[in-house]
């Protein structure tokens, strides 16, 4: 009993802490600051608490929370991201009138995020996933500008679709596997009815979060519209929840004919498309958003391979998680960095510039960075799965990444977002720098190939050089992205159209067609006829009596 309480505290507590912290917002200014640290318990739990689970049968449909390896990995980077973003954001929004409101949504989303990671059963996962999705809406529309509201509309529409897909997917999976607990979900044979539906719905539900093509449209809009720390979270943590969803629900380790290739193709499209479109952006945030899309492309490919080659599934999943880990820190740092470029002192600017280069290189996969490690893991998986053919295109994609990064740095130099960073922002930023630099030290099995062979150096470097040279050529040729830029939300379907407009309708129609009286003339005619009969009866009373008598006689006689 007692250790149930303790476990609950440890394994569910991190998710509830941010919500528990909300009342502080009503407290005095000094106390309020503590809200920025809401993610601390989660981080501590991730680093210190041993693996384990706790069952809460009375909660939801019989809830189970716990830390397994996947959960721990996710929790580590998610928690540190939220922590950094919280600290940074608190002072970033110092002058903002709606800071409290922002942190309400911020903490709610945080709680959702941690809950998603700690949940070990479908229902709880669903609950926290919804919390994460809906709360993030508040982050997207925080500025209330028309762009922000538009981004919000697109986002929420996709969220609803995703939620519904997820609902259906969960229903199907639970019915197919016969359990709501992830650990007990059996692998369903490829022939099971509705399995394909389940997979499709799962891909859609989480593909929206992860920004898989063509469900990525919300991502550039939202990242651009949201305040910088929020963008960092969206790109660093939120979209990773999608990956987690795939890992939790997809039947990795069993065949999924058709789906595997579909995902690999989609992944490749995302990697290249994201890179190219990103390179043609005029807003650094948008560029970063597209880079996220492209990076998630890599992960999509990995999942595809896991579905294609069941034996390679464990390695592939691990690689995917590592990739997410690395990308989370790097991308978050890039975003936050964008808000630091207003640094006043020369030294400060230098430091910030350095702080931008680091994640840029990491994302491009330069040696000695977490990116290189992640990418080499990825390649290892490709080799093991016998999909070496993908190695080259993925490296080529890295070149694209380089383009996007250069574009971003270029745009960041002339960024307008220039108010001098406060101490808090620095603190958050440094935290991320540390994380980004140390990221690869978290990869236990990665330390081995941290010292890389020459050809590995080569294979890591040539895409970058390629990218640089392309940019150089472009520089000489004076390509102007003003001419050939693509607006954020490229293929944005007319999703906003699906938003119901208020059509003023005569709302009592329904009622009135039921109380319609017959037309007066008809009524009068009926009245006349009736009264005629009545009068005639009265006049012919005797006759009627005689007739009745006759009738009765006949009836008896018959």
């Amino acid at each position: 009993m007692n250790d149930t309480v303790l476990n609950t505290l440890l394994l569910l507590g991190p998710a509830l802490a941010p919500l528990a912290a909300l009342p502080l917002l009503l407290a005095g200014t000094r106390l309020q600051t503590a809200v920025a640290l809401s993610a601390l318990p989660a981080l501590l739990v991730a680093l210190l608490v041993p693996a384990g689970t706790v069952d809460l049968p009375w909660l939801l449909l019989g809830a189970r929370f716990g830390l397994d390896d996947t959960a721990r990995m996710f929790l580590v980077f998610t928690a540190s991201l939220w922590l950094a973003a919280g600290i940074h954001g608190w002072s970033y929004l110092n002058e903002d009138a709606r800071r409290q409101e922002f942190f309400v949504f911020f903490n709610a989303a945080m709680a959702g995020n941690f809950g998603v990671i700690l949940a070990q059963d479908a229902a709880s996962f669903y609950v926290f996933f919804a919390l994460l999705s809906f709360a993030s809406y508040g982050l997207v529309v925080h500025s209330r500008t028309s762009d922000a509201l538009r981004a919000g509309r697109v986002y929420i529409a996709l969220v609803v679709v995703g939620e519904l897909a997820l609902f259906a997917a969960i229903v199907l999976w639970v019915n197919l596997t016969g359990s709501i607990y992830f650990s007990e979900m059996t692998l369903v044979s490829a022939t099971a009815p509705a399995r394909n539906w389940a997979i499709a719905l799962t891909l859609i539900a989480f593909g929206i979060k992860i920004g898989a093509v063509p469900l990525h449209v919300w991502l550039p809009l939202a990242h651009t519209a949201a305040p910088t720390p929020a963008s960092a979270i969206l790109s660093g943590a939120l979209i990773k929840a999608g990956l987690l969803g795939w890992l939790r629900f997809l039947p990795l380790g069993s065949e999924a004919p058709g789906w595997d290739h579909a995902m690999i193709i989609l992944g490749l499209v995302a990697t290249f498309g994201g890179a190219l479109v990103g390179a043609l952006q005029n807003n650094p945030k948008a560029a970063l958003a597209y880079s996220s899309i492209s990076q998630m492309g890599f992960i999509t490919v990995l999942i595809g391979i896991a579905l294609a080659v069941p034996d390679a599934a464990p390695a592939a999943t691990l690689a995917a998680v590592l990739y997410a880990f690395h990308h989370a820190f790097a991308k978050a740092l890039m975003f936050v960095g964008l808000s630091m470029v207003g640094a006043t002192s020369r030294a400060g600017r230098a430091v910030v510039a350095g702080g931008m280069m680091l994640p840029a290189l990491a994302l491009a996969g330069a040696p000695l960075t977490s990116g290189a490690v992640a990418k080499s893991e990825l390649k290892a998986v490709l080799v093991a799965a016998g999909w070496n053919g993908l190695a080259f295109p993925l490296s080529l994609a890295a070149a694209g990444t380089t383009l996007v990064m250069l574009r971003t740095l270029f745009l960041a130099r002339q960024a307008q977002d220039t108010h001098a960073p406060h101490a808090g922002m620095w603190a958050g930023w440094w935290l991320l720098v540390g994380g980004c630099a140390a990221a690869n030290w978290f990869f236990p099995q990665a330390r081995g190939n941290y010292v890389m062979s020459l050809d590995e150096w080569a294979s890591a470097l040539w895409p970058i050089l390629l990218g640089l040279s392309v940019v150089a050529v472009g520089w000489r040729a004076k390509w102007s992205t003003e001419k050939i830029s693509i607006p954020p939300g490229d293929i944005l379907l007319p999703l906003s159209e699906m938003w119901p407009r208020q059509r003023p309708t005569p709302s009592v129609r329904q009622g009135h067609q039921n109380v319609e009286p017959p037309s007066p003339s008809a009524l009068r005619a009926a009245r006349a006829a009736i009264s005629w009969v009545e009068v005639t009866l009265a006049q012919r009373a005797g006759l009627v009596m005689v007739l009745v008598t006759a009738a009765v006689v006949l009836l008896i006689a018959s």
Binding site: L61, I170, A194, W499, R503, Q510, N514, V515
Partner: protein
Amino acid sequence: MTDPWIPLVAVGLPFLTGIVIFMLDDRQVALRSLLNLFGAFAKLVLVGVMLWGVVNGRDYGVRLAIAPGLDVALHVDALALLFITLSAVLWALTTVYAIGYLENAAHRSRFFGFFSLSIFATTGIALAGNLFTLFVFYEILTLVTYPLVVHRGTQKALAAGRVYLCYTLAGGAVLLLAVAWLHALAGPRDFVAGGYLREFGTDHQFTLILLFGFLIAGFGVKAALFPLHGWLPVAMVAPAPVSALLHAVAVVKAGAFAIIRVVYDVFGVEFAQSLGVLGPLALLAAFTILYGSFRALTEDELKKRLAYSTVSQVSYIILGVAVLGPLSTIGALVHLVNQGLLKITLFLTAGNLAETLGVHHVHEMDGVGRRMPLTMTAFTVGALGMIGVPPIAGFVTKFYLGSGAAQAGQWWVIVVLVASSLLNACYFLPILYRAWFQPQSAPWPNEKREGFDAKAVLLVPVLFSAALAVGAGIFANAPFGPLEWAKLISSREFGYGP
């Protein structure tokens, strides 16, 4: 051992309360309020006693012979308890609310009198032990709710009342025919889990199908099944507590509950299946769900939109009934409760808006979230719950309905659920968007009250019901929760648990 007194008191209490209240003068506010509250909370206590007793295997029942082979029978079983508990709790809430809502309105004694009587009827429906009794109380319910619908006494209200009576009385007539016919056919029988008509086997096939149709038609009027839903949106002229009571508890639920009784305890779900009547019923319910949602999209008047959403939501229950299988049964039964909690929250909040700001239409709701944060929080809970966003009660229902459909291999039901949830989102989210993320665009139509949010007496019930709705979701699996009862009943019906 059967104990006759508890059910008798449970039914008699609201009746007496109502009668006494009729006697009171309109100005005796304190006494009347006291009576109301006494009635409401005494009922709660009674229900508690019954819950405790039934859990400890006690049997409450009483019967009174009307004619040879014709009894009025009250019996407390799990299903009855589920419904009566719901009604008792929500009655208490609505009573508190109504006292605040109607202070210094006209004809209050009349209003509260009929208010109590409608709970008397609802209790009777819940405890009815056989079809005859159910029918009797069902008709009583029709009568005692009519004065509540026309309470405002305007021509519009009267027209609405006329529509209401047209539908309900016509339904009642069909019902009378069906009930009497069944009585003539099968003799005096009490409700029994698994139904008692199965012994007919293959005789009277046609008649039984016909009677099933009649019964569904009769009860479907109150349950607002598709062609018979017309009265519901029109009845929106009634005061907010009435809408809440009618739409969340008394009338609509009575219809759904009665249909549950018919399918499970008269025909028996397996037998109904063998008659081939469940399929059409499911289709009808599904259509109603989508139709209601579509109509709700276009309604600008808040209460009307809610009404159509009710049309759609109640059919979830019937859909769950019509889909064979324990899981969907659980979904149906638990939705009986969840929809009640959510809908009453929504209607009471709508009442708050109307009472405090005179806001009746969606387009007037810009920025109302800042003006009435607590009320709108409750509203948000209700709306999200209706969409099925966890952890609010609604999602439990949808989960079980979906699982049931999957279990029965009727995948199309899942499609319907998803589609309807999408529509719900389409007509609820814009409201939330206006309320929370839009600045106030125009002065409030008729601001009756300065200061924070609404009157406390209006606010507390709303928040409480919202809390209940959330609780019913978060602690769904908790012992003695609605879900527990639903599982119990379902296992009773199917002889095996889900």
